[in-house]
């Protein structure tokens, strides 16, 4: 039995299936992210855990107790909303003290716990201020303090960083991680931002169009996507589709843009089948000449984005397919300019091929005939 269990949950709104047969679970203290593009059902899923929506079918359990039909106020859930949802007519202290007041905690004890919670989010002096006077980052801290002050079973975060600017977002991410680890609360985090999900989470659940696409550790999701959707959605990559052929004992993908793309020899693909391969931008290279054992294919540089820590090249293959190459600490940007004819280089072992878990099972491996 896991701490938080979501079992075959489906949510229908009239004709729309927002969440489709999703199951996952989190252990006590685990940080789990629901990751996916907007409209994938991640927020609906979160709202069902909070009790703000009721699943059409399926079950949600917290500590083994079925809470599927419990109203939110009977669950011990701390939820932080995207726009914080602080009560504008109450002071910061009253906001943070609100869940305690609703639980019948006396005024004096409340004051103590509120002070403690504000200490934790490093805003001890804001207690008598109005939330409307606070900056976005401060409001967020107050919202977090309010969601945690009553020591909830589960902390739910709905895109909490999306309303902040970039620098603040990074600070808050670190802060969030510190606090979550400090109190060890089981956390479900909704985001469309892969970097946020990866840097914070023990487990990432990728949702696509209402159904669960893949669940695993960040590294698992990045290196071994189990579906084309995950391969495409995670990271910056170019997708090439083609037909598998073979030269000697090595599998090769025939694609319009590259002609012959050598695949890693370990991969199980069947000759004549259509496959999609993802070229991760940061694993590609740009050269003036093709080199021996690697895939090298001619391309024309269309755009160069120098971003300081990295440089991103947007190149066009022969058939017009766009391929993105991202180079860390690239100092000789000046040597390239728009319209240059170059070779994009990809080592076969760096290619990512989406494989569903079933296909990876040993009995299914047939190799190339």
């Amino acid at each position: 039995m896991s701490y938080l269990e979501v079992e075959t949950v489906t949510k229908r709104f009239d004709d729309l299936v927002a969440v489709d047969d999703v199951s996952f679970s989190a252990e006590e203290g685990e940080f789990l992210s629901l990751l996916g593009p907007s409209g994938c059902g991640k927020t609906t899923m979160l709202r069902m855990i909070a009790g703000l929506e009721t699943p059409t079918t399926g079950e949600i359990r917290i500590r083994g107790e079925d809470v599927t039909d419990q109203p939110p106020y009977e669950r011990d859930i701390g939820m932080m909303f995207q726009h914080y949802a602080l009560f504008p007519h109450k002071t910061v202290g009253e906001n943070v003290g609100f869940p305690l007041k609703m639980r019948g905690v006396g005024a004096e004890e409340r004051r103590e716990q509120v002070a403690e919670a504000l200490e934790m989010v490093r805003l001890p002096d804001a207690i008598d201020r109005s939330p409307t006077e606070l900056s976005g980052g401060q409001q967020q801290r107050v919202a977090l303090a309010r969601a945690l002050v009553f020591e909830p079973d589960v902390l739910l975060l709905d895109e909490p960083l999306s309303a902040l600017d970039r620098v603040l977002r990074q600070q808050m991410r670190v802060e969030l991680e510190r606090i979550q680890k400090e109190i060890g609360v089981t956390t479900v985090y909704v985001t469309h931002d892969q970097m946020e999900a990866f840097s914070l989470s023990d487990t990432v659940v990728v949702l696509e169009d209402g159904h669960l696409s893949q669940q695993g550790s960040p590294i698992d999701i990045y290196e071994n996507p189990t579906s084309e959707f995950v391969g495409d959605f995670i990271g910056q990559s170019t997708k090439l589709t083609g037909t598998v052929t073979a030269t000697e004992d090595r599998p090769v993908l025939e694609t319009p843009g590259v002609h012959e793309l050598r695949l890693p020899s370990s991969v199980d693909v069947n000759r004549g089948e259509s496959e999609a391969v993802f070229l991760r931008a940061e694993k590609l290279d740009i050269r003036d000449q093709p080199s021996g054992h690697e895939n090298a294919f001619p391309a024309t540089i269309r755009v160069i984005n120098y971003l300081g820590e990295k440089t991103v090249f947007y190149c066009d293959l022969e058939d017009g397919t766009e391929v993105i190459v991202s180079k860390q600490g690239f100092t000789n940007v000046d040597e390239y300019e728009r319209g240059d004819e170059v070779y994009v280089v990809a080592r076969p072992e760096d290619l990512v091929i989406a494989r569903s878990v079933d296909d990876r099972a040993p009995q299914q491996v047939e190799g190339v005939r």
């Binding site: 703000l52 701390g78 909303f81 949802a85 602080l86 869940p99 969601a147």
Partner: protein, 265 residues
């Protein structure tokens, strides 16, 4: 330059129009302190004689008290019903919603004479006596749209995520309403109820169909008095009416510190 001139002309015209509309009110207030029997302007002196008359005149006091009772009752009834209807129209979808919401504004649009006659027929038909409740029922109908429209405007701007937040934090439906919803719609509700009070307090046209001697309201009393005996006490009474309908809400507003009227305007 010409534009400046035009603006000055516009401003001057507006000022004159307002002066024309408001000046009689000031005159009434001024001559209510006039010691002479016949109205003169400017006043010939200063006297509280008519106010003394007024406060010792049983029928006058009675009518003012009646107006207070009816206006307060109507503001409360319209406040509750108007708020609940506003919630229904903003938060729920149902058939004929737009048509029905237009219907709710009818008491504002239809001539009060028609409403006065119609309601009289109806209430008489169901055998209701002409008491306070009769008047409150009538006035509530007249002022309902004002509460409905101000609360509805407030609710359209209301961030429902705040209610959801309260519920996740442990507040049940009632606690959420008392702790979060009500305080936040108070500016709209308060402004609507103040308007309802003031309009009910000054209502004349429909009210004359609904009163009996014991429930006569202040505006009707003034009218009756003007018709029978022209005493300057009426000016004192009219001044009291102005004070109640203009000054009381403003003071209440300032004291409560919510700026209900200014905010909702």
């Amino acid at each position: 330059m010409r534009d400046d001139l035009r603006w000055t002309a516009v401003k001057a015209t507006s000022a004159l129009v307002y002066l024309f509309l408001l000046a009689p009110l000031f005159v009434v207030v001024a001559i209510s302190f006039n010691p002479t029997q016949f109205a003169t302007f400017p006043p010939a002196g200063f006297s509280l004689e008519w106010y003394y008359d007024f406060f010792t005149h049983d029928r006058m006091l009675r009518s003012l008290f009646n107006s207070f009772v009816v206006a307060t009752g109507s503001a409360i009834v319209a406040g509750v019903v108007g708020m609940i209807s506003a919630f229904g129209f903003v938060r729920y979808d149902f058939r004929w919603k737009n048509a029905l919401s237009s219907l709710l504004f009818l008491p504002m649009i239809i001539s009060p004479v028609v409403i006065g006659v119609a309601l009289t027929t109806f209430l008489t038909e169901i055998g209701m006596e002409r008491n306070y409740l009769y008047l409150i029922a009538g006035h509530s109908t007249l002022v309902l749209p004002y509460v409905f429209v101000t609360v509805r405007a407030q609710l359209y701007r209301f961030d429902q995520e705040l209610e959801e937040a309260a519920r996740t934090l442990g507040a049940n439906e009632l606690e959420t309403f008392v702790e979060v919803t009500l305080p936040l719609i108070m500016p709209g509700l308060g402004a609507g109820m103040l308007l309802a009070f003031v309009i009910s307090f000054g209502e004349f046209t429909a009210t004359q169909f609904w009163i009996q001697p014991q429930t006569t309201t202040a505006p009707i009393e003034i009218y009756t008095m003007v018709r029978t005996s022209l005493t300057p006490m009426i000016n004192a009474m009219a001044t009291m009416l102005i004070v109640v309908t203009v000054v009381v809400p403003l003071v209440l507003d300032a004291v409560l510190g919510k700026n209900l009227i200014l905010k909702s305007a």
